[in-house]
């Protein structure tokens, strides 16, 4: 921290810096504010011209529509399934990824061994693989073992995707614990494992919480892999089923830029010509076919406006609460 001599000039400069920073940051946060407020505003207010910046009326009707509490909204999609899938995939993968990532991070932070850098780099680079590239072979392989459309399969993938960053974070946290502590634990008769379990792990709990939040958010927000691995509605997560159901450009002409859009407009995967697959018994292909047919014919695939918005909003809710937790844990660990 830079110490400063106090003088009238300094003070004036300070005021200017503060003012500039506040103005810029508030401008930067405006879209975020807007995104959050969208969840609690009536549609009329979102789409008027000139735009209504400060909400006049707050409402929970989108949530009511989403969970079917509004009798006027007839068509509903599997909100509960989406949320359950999201929670299961994110929750399971977070627990396992944080456990395994913590072990790995501890090894990297504390011990000297051969291939230290190579292993670390290898683990980190696995995270650099784009989800799009990974999703294709995963679909083919999972299809053979019956893990397509399966939440557990998804959780399995998310574990591996989340381990690298968790390991990196935990490596950093463990490094901040002085080595002397471990060494004195050894002197007192602890083995490697009990030194870790009884001394260092309890000390790294704040780090563990941060890593868990990051892992959970990464899994919750993941789209590329789930969009390929979930071929039917019941297997989709909140982000995939609720937010991204309208991929096409057609939606642009609709109301609130897409989420008002009825998903009757063809989704990319629906455009496959079904006749091409006739008579073939390949299971991958039948998976594919089922999904396309579901999108085409089932009434549940045609979502109502209220649902689309509501889904997006439910997402906000979780996002905001986890944001709060993350902010608190981060402000505690920063100077």
């Amino acid at each position: 921290m830079i110490t400063r001599s106090v003088g009238p000039n300094r003070r004036r400069n300070d005021i200017i810096w503060n003012a500039v920073a506040w103005v810029i940051l508030i401008m930067l946060a405006l879209p975020a504010f807007w995104i959050i407020m969208t969840a609690f505003r009536p549609n009329v207010e979102i789409n008027t011209f000139p735009p209504v910046w400060i909400p006049r009326r707050l409402t929970l009707e989108a949530y009511a529509n989403m969970f079917g509490l509004n009798p006027e909204v007839q068509q509903r999609v599997a909100v509960e399934a989406y949320l359950r899938n999201s929670l299961l995939a994110s929750g399971i993968s977070t627990v396992i990824a944080v456990s395994l990532g913590t072990l790995a991070g501890y090894a990297f932070a504390r011990f000297r061994f051969r291939f230290h850098t190579t292993l670390f780099l290898g683990i980190m680079l696995s995270r650099a693989v784009p989800g799009v590239a990974l999703s294709l072979p995963l679909f083919l392989l999972f299809n053979r073992v019956g893990l397509v459309n399966n939440v557990l399969g998804l959780a399995f993938v998310y574990v591996a995707v989340n381990i690298p960053f968790t390991a990196w974070l935990m490596d950093g946290f463990f490094r901040q614990i002085p080595t002397e502590l471990t060494e004195s634990a050894y002197i007192d008769g602890c083995g490697h494992w009990s030194a870790f379990w009884r001394i260092e792990l309890p000390l790294s709990l704040p780090g563990l919480a941060t890593a868990a939040i990051f892992a959970f958010l990464a899994a919750w927000n993941e789209f590329q892999i789930v969009s390929v691995l979930a071929r039917n509605n019941a297997a989709k997560t909140a982000v995939h089923g609720g937010l991204a159901r309208n991929g096409g450009d057609e939606c642009d002409h609709d109301g609130a830029g897409g989420y008002l859009c009825d998903s009757g407009s063809a989704q990319p995967s629906q455009r496959i010509d079904l006749r091409r697959g006739e008579g073939l018994s390949h299971s991958a292909q039948s998976q594919w076919k089922t999904s396309s047919m579901l999108c085409h014919h089932s009434p549940s695939a045609r979502s109502s406006t209220g649902f689309c918005i509501g889904m997006q909003r439910s997402h906000h809710f979780c996002v905001v609460s986890s944001a709060a937790i993350a902010a608190i844990s981060a402000s505690k660990s920063s100077p």
């Binding site: 061994f113 980190m124 294709l136």
Partner: protein
Amino acid sequence: MAANSNSPRGKGAATRLVEVSRIEAGFFPFALILPAVILILLVVGFPLLYSLYVSFTPYELLKPNSLNFTTARALRNYQKLLNDEVFWRSLLNTIVFLAVTVNLSYLLSLALSQLLSRVTVGQSVLRTLLMVPMMFAPILVGMQFRWFFNANLGLVNNFLISVGLIQEQGQIAWLVDVPLGMITIIIASIWMNIPVMTIILLAGTLSLPSETFEAAEVDGASGWQKFRFITFPLLAPFSYIALTIMSLDIARAFDIVRIMTDGGPARRTEMLWTYITRLAIEDTKFGLGSAMSWITVFLSVAFTLYFFRQLVKARIVR
């Protein structure tokens, strides 16, 4: 033992500039790492190898028999790509997108972190404010920015109309016109990238030793000189951490492109990631898609590796 009083605690991880003395423990560390490595090999390593194999075959999902490898046709997919105009265009788009996004995000975050480090009133509030976008799904950000830039209803055009910069009939087609489509995507992804980078750079700035700045002040250095010759070089490790983390996540920009323009209209904003989706998922050409996947994997890994090397050079990891 280097108990450094200046050790940064902002981002917790990896921001420690201290050389740590490590313990020799035989097989124990390998046992700790093994489960993680096995899982990663299962979920990332093996599928990637499989995808390499698929990329050498003319595999199409709806023609199960096409998954067979023949030496003569092994490189067909790659040949096709090299002769594919759309591929080259999407590669160019991707490179432009990456270059602009990475550089601008970094510069803006650097400026913002310097600004924030001077804030004396309510800095923690501002930090929290800054972190809110970190929690949004890229899909959500893309969707909302698509609405912001919507020609008829979007906030941006509405704002420009009410300020009087454009007429009500002359609305700008942000997502459609040629450079504008890319620009809106870039704006959205920069907005998403800034928080993480700024937080890391801010943590770095706050951890710099104050003695150096005092000495510079005694020598009469100006504010710019202090930044140019002290802050910026000393921030190098933090810069590389921020850039490494960003390069790890860069492919998440796919979500934004997918939802904002989906590569369109008329492939104007097509990028490698969206083109893979188009080839493999929509046209079921898994062989071709896998070949292209490998090109993106190579790009991403090279990117990350480069920044990571710089990071190691800046003496932070070891």
